[in-house]
């Protein structure tokens, strides 16, 4: 089996290298892409969309259809992991473990449960106290990571970045919280249902912005139609439209990352995480 795999890989790789010889040379000014496509974006992006970062403009405006389905792919990945891994237990485990927050005394209740209160928190069976140094450092770092994530989303017009990267950074900040504390801490702040709903909401914001343009009388994803809604001129409306869809992408990606992580790290049981 290994030999067959090697032969197939070498054949396909050889074919790929052979085909790559037909590509125009790197930064060849006479290649088809550089003769009529790139000059248009390089010269016209600023006056058509007032976005200095051409990559963001191409990604979220000129080729927004492509990016919309990329977001849908991320969403489907989250749903696929959920369907494959998530297991719902029919009945709750009989013994529950609780920890007194102030004193750190843990106790095991054989049947029934404690009424919800701030003094006691429910813990996993294999709970270990989080390391003080890791816990404190992560607690200090997480706000800065999140601010950076928001900056990356909001500043994608002017510098590298955008919805995908910012969303991943925001998701990573929550994963850091899950690693440094435990999964229960995250689920308490951001429940599974909220995760799933926000994933869909992110995709909906993207597709909804496109559909709104359609309703306002222009093409799907032609953000200049939003000018009458946002009270700006059509060029500025395209810039704002990009920001709106980037926020949608950011929400979808952030929640998908947290969703996938919680399912993978807890075998789909949402307890005893990593």
């Amino acid at each position: 089996m290994k030999i067959t795999g090697l032969i197939v890989t070498i054949l396909v790789g050889g074919l790929l290298i052979y085909a790559a010889a037909d590509f125009p040379a790197w930064s060849d000014p006479n290649s088809p892409a550089s003769t009529y496509l790139s000059p248009h974006f390089i010269e016209k992006t600023m006056e058509e969309t007032s976005v200095p970062n051409i990559v963001t403009a191409v990604l979220a405006d000129y080729r927004s259809f492509d990016t919309m389905f990329e977001t849908t792919v991320i969403f489907s990945a989250g749903v696929a992991v959920f369907i494959l891994l998530r297991t719902f237990r029919r009945k709750e485990p009989e013994a529950r473990h609780y920890r007194h927050v102030l004193t750190g005394v843990t106790m095991r209740i054989k049947e029934g449960k404690l009424p919800p209160s701030d003094d006691f928190e429910r813990i996993d069976t294999l709970w270990t106290p989080p390391d003080l140094i890791i816990k404190t450092v992560c607690r200090l770092l997480i706000p800065f990571i999140q601010i950076f994530g928001l900056y990356v989303i909001a500043h994608g017009h002017h510098s590298p970045g955008g919805g995908f990267q910012g969303g991943v950074i925001l998701g990573a900040s929550i994963i850091v919280l899950a690693i440094s504390h435990n999964l229960r801490t995250v689920v308490k702040r951001m429940s599974e249902k909220l995760d799933a709903v926000l994933c869909a909401v992110g995709v909906l914001i993207y597709a909804g912005t496109g559909a709104l343009c359609l309703l306002l009388g222009l093409n799907f994803m032609d953000y200049s139609a939003l000018a009458s809604v946002l009270f700006v001129d059509p060029i500025m409306a395209r810039s704002h439209g990009i920001l709106i869809v980037e926020i949608g992408v950011g929400i979808a990606v952030m929640c998908t990352m947290v969703w996938i992580y919680s399912n993978v790290s807890s075998r789909g049981r949402y307890e005893q995480g990593l």
Partner: protein
């Protein structure tokens, strides 16, 4: 593009890629894959594609390594083949 840097990174990409395939320990493979993503990120930066490099650094080297480590932690650490 500075060719010595380019050559060094490309060599490392190939070495780390083969290493990630060859190593028996899956946790090691996950970490090598993270290193591979980071090398690719450097390569994108050298080529001037900063947005792609940023995505590669955050998704490839960051979050996907965590997913791999989580999956290894929840399954087995050694490969059968």
């Amino acid at each position: 593009m500075i060719w010595p840097i380019d050559l060094a990174i490309l060599t490392l990409v190939v070495i780390v890629g083969i290493g990630a395939l060859m190593v028996k320990d899956l946790l090691g493979a996950a970490i090598l894959f993270g290193a591979y993503s980071f090398m690719m990120c450097l390569l994108w930066t050298v080529m001037g594609a900063v947005d792609v490099a940023f995505t590669e650094a955050s998704v490839g080297a960051g979050v996907s390594t965590v997913f791999f480590v989580g999956a290894v932690f929840r399954t087995s650490r050694r490969t059968k083949d």
